[in-house]
Symmetry: C2
């Protein structure tokens, strides 16, 4: 396409590419409070903070219809956008849903997809305000935009973490990644590539985590009830490691996270064992957890410890100390963002 | 995919499909003023009307990279979204840009695309507040969401046209469609399919209209200066016929449009002649004009007649009279929405 110099996109990676393309953007409108670089953009309209986040999901890259029911896909597509709004400490209010589909889909398929979107919207009191369908020459493409609101001064960015702040995470990590491994294994069985018997018994939680994630509104509500406003927050989509590094780099800070404190479900551990994978690596780099990662002032230690389903996993340090994991045997391992990078594929 | 009943999407068409999928949506939030069914959704945050519109553009369906420079594609992708906001009588303020690309694209390609987006944003004072790139297994996919604002009571919907209102249109129609024919012809030449010499001389306007459309902020401003608030408005993307029928059906009205009054540029006429196509059909059904179609009260006749680049082409009638074109020889032809339907392809 381009004549002359050709720089391969893989040399920059997803985050690098966006940084490169948006590096010289000067915001022109006073209503624009925050642009590229967080879970959502922030606008101020008449003193109300309006949040906007958008996701583009491609078949064959972000989802595999061989093992993803369309109803679940609709549910998840909406849910992950709500998660981005909660990660800003906001409340999702509206979404628009655009689909591109090829002729292999029928009206009933789209009804299934919409049923999932509608269920997610019902649970989170979100209105579907825009819809668009168009054709695609190949796979299915989903584009969802979610609009949310927050009271002034309630929005939490990625860049507010301070030295000594406690690092907290909701739920447990690595289960969605294990669920994905399980589904990929079953797909191989289905396609006759391997001689493995399908066996989901006792692994229902893993499947639920990958196919039907839940956005953590409950955590946002509990934090508000406890009177805690996180200093930084984001949702875990690419993996704990990658997200920690985002928070630290944007907050100009370092961090120490304790391996033994990372919350992991029993089924995740069993599955990692079964697949002979390193459990901590799965929890750190698996991604698609859609749990909340946030930091709170050290003074909130006691209060935050009592919040259901929240665990303190480490603390923020001076930037020169870098980002590291303290392993069970007391070693310090530098964190690396091995998060899921769809541009490397 | 779906087991059991299978209804082909072509039986519903694009508009029918969206209507079908969104028919039972109940709006839950008081902030949501208007959902599916207009150029943009409307929210009310603290008394300020916030408009949101989104577009999903697929390579091979909405654009052809053989003859579309990426810079122009970026410009147009942004511009058509601004056009949707102007069509609500609003002002575009922010956009998010998501791209899915395959490995054949390099960083310089995306720089070109972004250069076009940035230029469009600069001209319309719009901030890029979100960006996302991901990979695609096949072609390029563009998803743009635009956020705009309007003062309370300034938003213009499609459903407000009344009997005797004048129907107005900005600019001229059919030129983008002729530009597309021209490019398709040159593509055939390029691919050696036909023995036709490329000849763009004297046809620059047609190419500009298809490759680099301009959103009509100027018309919105002139209407405001003249103290006119249209009763209904939308932008012409699918074609005049199709859009007139949207306004009439949503306003429960009919219309009469005069063939001789439809504004057509000289180059459009020459090209239609050259291709042996019916000129009025091109102007009525060509689409991609991105001009504004609006209705004003009969009392605004004198004022609106004096607005530069606006033409009165007909009037709104009782619904039982249907939608019709009065031809040059005085015949009445029922309007049909032969607008561009990407789902039929």
């Amino acid at each position: 396409m381009h004549e002359g110099k050709r720089t391969e996109i893989s040399t920059l990676g997803e985050f690098g590419l966006i940084k490169h393309l948006t590096r010289d953007i000067q915001l022109q409108n006073p209503e624009t409070k925050y642009g590229v670089g967080d879970d959502a953009a922030v606008m101020d309209f008449a003193g109300k903070q309006v949040l906007v986040t958008t996701d583009l999901l491609m078949e064959g890259v972000h989802f595999d219809l061989v093992y993803t029911p369309l109803r679940h896909l609709g549910y998840k597509s909406a849910m992950v956008n709500f998660s981005d709004i909660y990660a800003m400490n906001g409340t999702p209010k509206q979404i628009t849903v655009s689909l591109a589909i090829s002729k292999r889909f029928c009206v009933e398929d789209l009804e299934d997809f919409y049923a999932g979107v509608k269920l997610a919207c019902q649970l989170h009191h979100v209105d579907i305000v825009g819809g668009d369908t168009t054709s695609s020459v190949t796979g299915m493409t989903i584009s969802i935009t979610c609009i949310g609101v927050a009271d002034k001064d309630k929005v939490v960015y990625r860049n507010g973490a301070h030295e000594t702040d406690l690092i907290c995470v909701s739920g447990d990590l690595g289960a969605a990644y294990m669920g994905l491994q399980l589904l990929e294994r079953e797909k191989a069985v289905f396609q006759g590539e391997k001689e493995v018997q399908p066996d989901f018994a006792g692994k229902e939680y893993l499947l639920e985590r990958i196919l039907k994630p839940e956005a953590r509104r409950d955590i946002i509500e509990r934090l508000a009830e406890a009177g805690i406003k996180p200093t930084a927050m984001m949702d875990i989509s690419d993996g704990l490691s990658s997200e920690l590094m985002h928070i630290c780099s944007q907050s100009h800070a370092g961090c120490r996270v304790y391996e033994e404190r990372i919350p992991i479900d029993y089924q995740t551990a069993v599955m990692a064992e079964e697949l002979n994978m390193n459990l901590s690596t799965c929890a750190l780099n698996g991604g698609e957890d859609y749990e909340l990662l946030f930091t709170v002032p050290l003074t909130a230690h006691e209060t935050v410890s009592q919040i259901k389903d929240v665990k303190i996993i480490g603390h923020i340090t001076k930037p020169e100390l870098g980002c590291a994991l303290i392993t069970r045997d007391g070693n310090e391992l530098e964190l690396k963002a091995q998060g899921w990078n769809p541009l490397k594929g």
